[in-house]
Symmetry: C2
Subunit: 304 residues, 2 copies
Amino acid sequence: MSILVVGSVAFDALQTPFGKIDRCIGGSATYFSVAASFFSPVDLVAVVGDDFTEQDASVFKGRNINLDGLQKVPGERTFFWSGEYGYDLNVAKTRDTQLNVFAGFKPKLNERQRSADVLFLANIDPDLQMDVLKQTKRPRLVALDTMNYWITSKKDALAKIFSEVDLIIINEAEVRQFMGDSNLVQAARAILSLGAKTLVIKRGEYGVIMITKDSIFAAPAYPLENVFDPTGAGDTFAGGLLGYLASRREITDRELRRAIVFGSVLASFTVEKFSLDRLREISLREIQERYQDFRALTHFDDAE
Amino acid sequence: MSILVVGSVAFDALQTPFGKIDRCIGGSATYFSVAASFFSPVDLVAVVGDDFTEQDASVFKGRNINLDGLQKVPGERTFFWSGEYGYDLNVAKTRDTQLNVFAGFKPKLNERQRSADVLFLANIDPDLQMDVLKQTKRPRLVALDTMNYWITSKKDALAKIFSEVDLIIINEAEVRQFMGDSNLVQAARAILSLGAKTLVIKRGEYGVIMITKDSIFAAPAYPLENVFDPTGAGDTFAGGLLGYLASRREITDRELRRAIVFGSVLASFTVEKFSLDRLREISLREIQERYQDFRALTHFDDAE
């Protein structure tokens, strides 16, 4: 079953305590697509400038990713983000953002894309998310990501798109910020009352908590001895999560839990190297092995 | 099998966003004993002043807690702590600490106490922890708690007692502080290399992670819609953990995981009301039910 992602393809400049890179491939849709493509065919909708080379596009090659929707605009430059991390790798400090060609991003879906089975609206303007959603023939599952910037600047538009989707992926602090409630569970339930069925709350190095009407599921992050670069972890997580769900016939609580673990597994690989370097070299077998490691990490026996 | 705890019995004054209380029972050994006594008989060693009434002592009544070691010093006042929490309930702000009778605490164990099967050295001066340990006939399991204050002021003494115990219960930030390493797993392994077999790292609302030579286990905190007062959560956790272990014939990875979940269950009750109010009213059956809730919260199926 196909999965459509609408988001950014970008160049990043990164500095962490462990190294520095001046130009590497990044962007929400990039991490998402590569992660999701381990499980399901992906349709990528994004825009780049003519500085985006064949070499850059090779990140998508040999994977089940359709690039018909990757528009290249002559005379424009690709979205650029420069960020820095201290020893607390949970917090990125933005040094520079150049929207470039992304400033005029206004996707028009083709017939194939409109019929996607699963839709992921990466972190973009909520009005644009709504515009894309309206072009589709109501996918089986619609999910979105967002950020604090949109909560501050476009809260009404965000509340509206929240009410139209099935699954919201969001940071813990953003849940509290959106509802003005310090209790996470209460704030999550208030967001769900707007219409979505599932809230997937990202907690950085502490993992993920999923809240639905009937169930709560908590998964830790995989404890790594070497976290190198956290950029893209959230989008990779979303890609693993939705890629896995798109491959399943039914979306049950059981499948949602598995999907969250697959997303966490993929994200744990992403942070081991710069950019998509680690994601590009892993196999489905390594993913499955780490899935088993997650079971060993979290499971315990019944009391006697 | 009996468990011996050496720590504080205190009066607390507490203020949280949800209420205020000027005098209630507190102290590490108090929370620990009541929690542990659900599973194993407890020997309490602590000191109070003559302001500690029969009414105050009723918190231990009807439970399997031996008070031979609760020394009452005439003319002295009981240890007093006053603390305040904002909406971020993870951080307590100390308003006042009066050590009172606790300043001269120098426990002498009786024959029975020296033969304890399990020993818990609550958060006190590491030299005092060592002194108590040396009085015992090497219990089957020795565990301790500590705090940032001792890392700053008595690091060598702390390193020494770390090398003598089996299990260390410690906060996440303290693990990093002790080793000067921002990576938790690396820092934990470095502490284990001093001699203890098991490190149980408390992460507040994010739960617990246990690291041994061969295994890592992560358990979330129970997601509560109403957290009222976090005071005593850590000591309650330790009580549930060690009380459960003391009741088991063997201390295996499997039992350690169960013990961590029982500790988390007990702690999740403690924070629902002021002081030990909630802990005093629950039954073993409610504890077992919440243990099952923890399985529902964390478990997921094998991939197909």
